[in-house]
Symmetry: C2
């Protein structure tokens, strides 16, 4: 049955990707409401061969809405998420606002869909992009041998910070190539031909992004004993996050067993052919596609029974828009 | 006393940096011989306000030479290193040819200078750039608490593959920005706005670059029991390698103790101020400077007594040219 769908934050990077995903997956839509700040109201967005006119988000926006996909930042989600839920919509929230709330399930469809059935607040939280691709890759191994400790270093794309961040990368890169001074607009420093550690302070000198790797991984996998040692880094890539993961388990895991578990796992493309130039997951190849790519599976050289792996996925798709729409498909259709 | 110095591979990225380093550090030079392949003979290189004319490398190139700095690839070093040593030169070799040879010390001046005194083959091997910056940062901690296990993920700059690799990055980036097809020349795939895992196959699905992290770290620190779990990745950065390091010790280490040990450690600049935007080591700021920058020191969240850190250093300087010249200074002057 067709649904009335609202996309909150429709003009942002993830919002646009949500519209594209709804269209690409032929989500059955009775009416689509594109919502954004009053500043963006009246703007036109292409959809399904026609156009949507963006409406200003307000308390009355959710009357009759079956599904509300939020991607407009945490403060908007905190204010309007409960309003949409009270109006009867299924709320799938892509911000950080509700992720650690005990009354909101934090769901990755391939990993813990059953958690989405119980939602006291009517809101399902979409995890941050970096934990999503990590848990999709690790879940089959966790089921087999129970994760004990993860050391993860990220190589995160600029699009995780929105359209303007990608523009900042491109503009900085052009200036840099022309030998002109680089003037960062979104990033707090140079990102062209450079690396930046995430700058949002969390506790104990770990950034907020790093704490998300710890807390969201545990909540999604439902195991608070999993140790996570995260370092998150922003790289001059447009889209698709990459992660270098060292994983230890309660019983020994071998790279060969991990490959067997991941071959055909839902949402995963395993790249396990013999080692050859370029034959591994790469952000430019992953960008614009749906899967979580897993490669470079190796038995650890120091810890028997541990493995190392390289995981790449499009942060706007699997990390956000695709993920939200997949959830809605499984719960509403 | 002034020395006769030969630079083998003078026209390459590291060779040019060696010339610049000799000049910058006012190394006392009686005569400087710039050597390269016959193809490059006759080329002129700027040096100390004048010019050097490149000579073709040959068996007679080392007569009367006190110091021969090699950076022309492993096969040249294997052939000409022993010839230069037999002619009486101190040979400092920047290639991988002699690093794991039991008759050649593998030396980082700040770490194990004493090993350089015994050199049965007359050749001192310069480690690979990635292990150098890691051991400079870890040595004070190893001395205090003995390293047990390192998980390291690298973010390596293109200049580690030479001038042509940097040009490939820049040319690919220009094409990419112009919306034109990207045609890699040095890299086996796209490096502009992308990441590539190193493609030189080693054993057990680890790349040669990864094995260097394991074997060279152990040899330099003189401790074969140190476990190393490496993942090496090439990033679209011009110069300066970065490393995300998780380190475990035989006795517990705390981030505060590590900071105290690293503050003022030789060759290290500690960036340990409160966490703030951009206040951490970055490749663009490290490029063209000598130190190994260490920052983001954090107590591990999962393993008591372990720490995490972020280490950045110019791979052409500390990782190669500066390092070779520092060795020569300490042994010859």
């Amino acid at each position: 049955m067709s649904k009335v769908v609202a996309v909150v934050g429709a003009t942002g990077a993830v919002g646009r990707e949500m519209l594209a995903t709804l269209e690409r997956r032929s989500f059955p839509i009775a009416r689509l409401v594109a919502l954004a700040s009053p500043r963006s109201a009246g703007q036109r967005l292409p959809f399904a061969g026609g156009e949507l006119v963006v409406e200003a988000l307000g308390p009355g926006s959710f009357v009759g809405v079956d599904l509300a996909l939020f991607s407009a930042g945490a403060s908007v989600s905190r204010e309007y998420g409960p309003i949409a839920a009270a109006a009867g919509a299924l709320v799938v929230d892509n911000s950080s606002a509700w992720r650690m709330d005990p009354g909101c399930p934090l769901v990755v469809p391939e990993v813990n869909l059953e958690a989405a059935r119980v939602r006291p607040r009517g809101i399902i939280a979409n995890p941050n992009c970096s934990p999503i691709q990590m848990v999709v890759a690790l879940k089959p191994l966790h089921d087999a041998a129970r994760l004990k400790h993860i050391v993860v270093s990220t190589y995160q794309a600029t699009s995780g910070k929105g359209h303007a961040a990608v523009e900042d990368l491109l503009q900085q890169t052009r200036a840099s190539l022309a030998g002109q001074p680089v003037a960062p607009s979104v990033f707090p420093g140079e990102i062209a031909f450079n690396l930046l550690c995430d700058w949002t302070a969390g506790e104990d000198d770990y950034s907020e992004e790093e704490w998300k790797m710890v807390r969201e991984t545990r909540k999604i996998l439902g195991d608070d004993a999993i140790g996570v040692s995260p370092t998150t880094v922003r790289v001059p890539v447009v889209s698709a996050h990459s992660e270098s993961i060292h994983a230890q388990f309660h019983r020994p895991m071998r790279a060969d067993e991990a490959k067997a578990l991941l071959r055909g796992a839902e949402g995963v493309v395993l790249m396990d052919e013999p080692y050859a130039p370029g034959n591994h997951p790469q952000p430019r190849q992953a960008a614009g596609t749906d899967p979580v790519y897993v490669g470079r599976l190796r038995d650890d050289l120091a810890v028997p029974g541990a493995i190392n792996m390289w995981v790449v996925s499009d942060n706007l798709r699997k990390g956000a828009a695709l993920h939200a729409v997949q959830l809605a498909e499984r719960l509403l259709l």
